[in-house]
């Protein structure tokens, strides 16, 4: 029998980026809020102080700050006719764990989606005709528009102090920014970061090829900043231990630097760490959540009753929680019915390494930050005519090299042996003069009928519950997109002056061992029709109106950008709907 705790107004499942935003917003409304977080409390002085944060082995290779698969993992297969096997150690993505969630160890590349990304299905059908889209592609409109979200993007950027150069101010295109972005109501809160050598060289080559390079919007701050909550951040020092690491300088936007110090001082807020929510509890009608049940690391089970439940556990764990709590109809790809698990997507990443003459080029690759970079957007979304190419989608691309940490980044030209004197000499000769952009081509991943999440028939977690099963593969559309974009990207790296290129196209099948990004999306998507979406346009569950589901699980498909700007904007948007509409009259905000 779980021990029963006193009832709260709101229980938040997972205290990462979106959990922190909702906790701040709802405590401001005067509600009594508790957040329950699976992992430990994390902060800079304890977990990543600048006297040992810069440890590549500990944080990057052995990934100290992440979830352990023994606690929770997934099974994986490419195709519906294969047997899914457990992901025994992480590979293609890295699930966060602990207070701050992915915000602790993200790069902080802080993009907005384009206006057309929110109405993708409508836009592409109007421009190219429905027959242009692959038959089994299941893309949808979001049900919310860029214009509705603009003020919430702005709120997140000002919370974070995002460094960047505006490309479109209230409809006026700005020199030096991204001309393809949607109109923004005001400039970025802080100017763009200074760019290291190879990044500026990329921008110069791109400009000469006729593109419009812009600095990547960054949550590694170009200067000291005090956010609207009164919390202060210091300038980024380009330490090069950013993504996968926590920032020891209070320079990277995270819940720790932008929200938590204020939040924990509010008398109507409590957090419990090292406590994993097992399921959301429903009353007999099945249409009303009564709270959650969680277990702490001492093995004690607790019940936390609440009037309102916010599920903010990250894409995969959101979907798993809904399946385990039997909320919403699980998706069945054969019947093409049901909603929980449908439209699961990831990202289509590739890169091109460029090798330069070491007598002429010295890049000092270790001088960098997680979200540094110069990018172009000419090949993102529908910014170019897809008619002649036979695919849809695209991505930004750029020299976004974030570090020179040698275990991961010491590179040798293609064809070099993997060991021996030739390898050693090549490593020495190329380290300072190689361009290695990491996620150089950051492509979209659209949704398909046979890419989805459900419960595994065989493997179980430590409580004996089924693991969640991922069925995911690349489709021709994404592979064509990637080949086209990677070639375009390679032209720019060549124009920078590289003598040798190593083009690393994204190839199928989807490989669960090869890190791409931790930008997983879908499975509990937002929309306007309850038969094809799990939540409405305010992220409210169609089935259980006192449950709101945050995170990229809401994306019907993934755009060619990093998700968190949009994830956070949606969180602010949902918070404002809860504050402005729901609390006055608890119940469905949209009647289907």
């Amino acid at each position: 029998m779980p021990k029963k705790l006193p009832k709260k107004d709101v229980v938040i499942i997972g205290l990462g980026w979106t959990g922190s935003i909702l906790a701040h917003e709802l405590t401001d409304e005067g509600l009594d809020v508790i957040a329950i977080e699976r992992g430990p409390w994390r902060d800079a002085p304890t977990e990543f102080p600048p006297n040992y944060a810069q440890d590549e082995l500990r944080y990057r290779i052995r990934h100290e700050l992440f979830l352990r698969p023994e606690q929770n993992t997934f099974t994986f297969r490419n195709k519906m006719n294969q047997t899914a096997l457990p992901i025994r150690d992480w590979g293609s993505f890295m699930p966060p764990n602990g207070v701050g969630g992915g915000g602790v160890h993200w790069n902080a590349e802080t993009f907005r989606f384009m206006p057309s990304d929110f109405v993708l299905k409508t836009h592409l059908t109007e421009r190219y005709g429905a027959a242009f889209l692959p038959e089994d592609m299941t893309i949808q409109d979001f049900g919310v528009t860029y214009d509705e979200l603009e003020q919430h993007y702005d709120a997140f950027e000002y919370l974070c102090g995002t460094s960047g150069t505006a490309g479109n101010l209230r409809g006026q295109i700005q020199e030096g920014g991204n001309p393809f972005e949607g109109p923004r109501s005001r400039p970025y809160p802080t100017p763009a970061q200074k760019q290291p050598f190879s990044h500026t060289l990329f921008a110069k080559a791109a400009r000469e090829l006729g593109y419009k390079p812009f600095p990547q919007p960054s949550g590694n701050l170009s200067q000291a900043y005090t956010n609207p909550l009164g919390l202060r951040m210091g300038p980024c020092t380009y330490c090069g231990f950013c993504e996968w690491f926590g920032c020891g300088n209070y320079s990277k936007a995270s819940p720790q630097t932008t929200i938590l110090p204020l939040l924990v001082r509010k008398s109507n807020f409590t957090a419990r760490d090292n406590s994993e929510v097992l399921h959301i509890n429903l009353d007999r009608s099945g249409k009303h959540a009564t709270g959650v049940t969680f277990v702490d690391t001492g093995g004690v089970e607790w019940e936390q009753p609440a009037d309102l439940v916010i599920l903010s556990a990250y894409t995969l764990f959101n979907v798993q929680m809904l399946l385990n709590s039997k909320i919403g109809t699980p998706y069945d790809p054969v019947a093409n019915k049901g909603v929980i698990g449908r439209n699961f997507t990831h990202q289509t990443i590739s890169s091109v390494n460029g090798f330069f003459d070491n007598k002429k080029f010295n890049f000092n690759p270790f001088i960098a930050s997680g979200a540094i970079g110069m990018c172009i957007d000419e090949f993102n979304g529908d910014n170019f005519d897809h008619g002649p190419h036979g695919f849809v989608g695209g991505g930004y691309m750029g020299q976004v090299q974030t570090n020179g940490r040698p275990i991961q980044s010491a590179s040798v030209p293609p064809g070099t042996p993997k060991w021996g004197a030739v390898w050693k000499n090549a490593t020495r000769d190329n380290y300072l003069s190689t361009v290695k952009p990491g996620t150089g081509v950051h492509g979209s991943f659209y949704s398909y009928r046979d890419v989805y999440l459900d419960l595994d028939p065989t493997y179980t977690d430590r409580f004996g519950r089924p693991l969640m099963r991922m069925t995911i593969d690349f489709h021709d559309n994404e592979l064509k997109q990637n080949a086209f974009l990677t070639d375009k990207f390679a032209e720019i790296i060549r124009a920078m002056g590289a003598h040798t290129l190593d083009k690393q196209y994204r190839k199928g099948p989807y490989d669960a061992t090869d890190y791409q990004t931790t930008h997983l999306n879908g499975g509990a998507i937002m929309g306007t029709d309850p038969s094809t979406s799990a939540i409405n346009r305010y992220l409210q569950s169609w089935d259980v109106p006192n449950l709101f589901v945050m995170g990229a699980s809401a994306f019907p498909q993934n755009a060619g950008y990093n998700p968190t700007g949009t994830v956070a904007a949606l969180a602010f948007w949902a918070a404002s709907a809860i504050r402005g509409q729901y609390l006055k009259n608890p119940g469905p905000l949209v009647h289907a």
């Binding site: 002085p45 600048p50 440890d55 590549e56």
Partner: protein
């Protein structure tokens, strides 16, 4: 005791769900900060092998020196401590695949599904190093791998890599790939873990190591960064000479 403490340095001890570190707490009223609560890494000390037998240790030193051969400027894998690094890693959480999902059934899968082996790296090394020595002893008149000439070692390793030579009972190609990865990881990791002694690998490539501030350098383009590397332990010349 030393062993336990050292496990913290690769960090994975945290996943033991019942350790002090991960006791559930209730946070309210202020940041739950206590002084000296961190877990700084504990330096690896030279000395006897923690995991390897002496034959295994010799074999791994020999492998490390072929993967990273010494040259006049930079020591090889052995003298830069790579075998010590691998030994200490295998003796710790890495060797046991600690934290991995380890529930049955164990079924063979596709390459894309990742390793489905029940064995951790420590067990893999034990079996594979024995198979390597057995192969050498039967092929090279009773000599172990460490006793072959450099040319013989290189030729054999090349053949294992190309799957022209098979080792009995183990997947030689993937084992050698793992040794390459582990040895090179030790070469480039902070010297606190036993490899990259005196930061030789970082000096070789021009990497300044654990420095944390390049604000003055971000826009000094195409200039060689002039300062020598530092490690998490500082620099030898920062410590007073005895």
């Amino acid at each position: 005791m030393t062993m336990r403490r050292r496990e913290f340095l690769a960090g994975t001890a945290i996943l033991v769900l019942s350790t002090m570190k991960s006791r559930a707490t209730i946070i309210s009223g202020g940041l739950p900060w206590t002084p000296d609560a961190g877990t700084p890494p504990i330096p690896v000390r030279p000395g006897p092998w923690h995991y390897f037998t002496s034959d295994e240790g010799r074999a791994v030193e020999a492998l490390a020196d072929r993967i990273i051969p010494p040259d006049p400027q930079t020591p090889g894998g052995k003298d830069s401590g790579c075998a010590v690094f691998v030994d200490r890693q295998l003796a710790g959480p890495y060797g046991r695949s600690e934290g991995h999902y380890n529930q049955p059934p164990f079924m063979p899968g596709t390459k894309q599904q990742g390793s489905q082996s029940q064995k951790g790296p420590a067990a893999v090394y034990r079996e594979a190093l024995a198979a390597l020595d057995r192969y050498c002893q039967s092929t090279y008149q009773g000599k172990r791998f460490a006793d072959l000439s450099d040319e013989q070692k290189d030729e054999l390793l090349k053949n294992i890599e190309d799957e022209k030579t098979k080792l009995e009972g183990i997947d030689g190609k993937s084992f050698f790939a793992q040794v390459i990865k582990d040895v090179q990881t030790g070469f480039f990791a902070d010297p606190i873990y036993g490899g990259n002694r005196d930061m030789v690998a970082w000096k070789m490539i021009g990497y300044p190591g654990a420095r944390y501030n390049y604000l003055d350098w971000v826009d000094r383009h195409n200039e060689r960064f002039p300062l020598p590397p530092v490690s998490l332990m500082g620099r030898a010349d920062w410590s007073p000479k005895p």
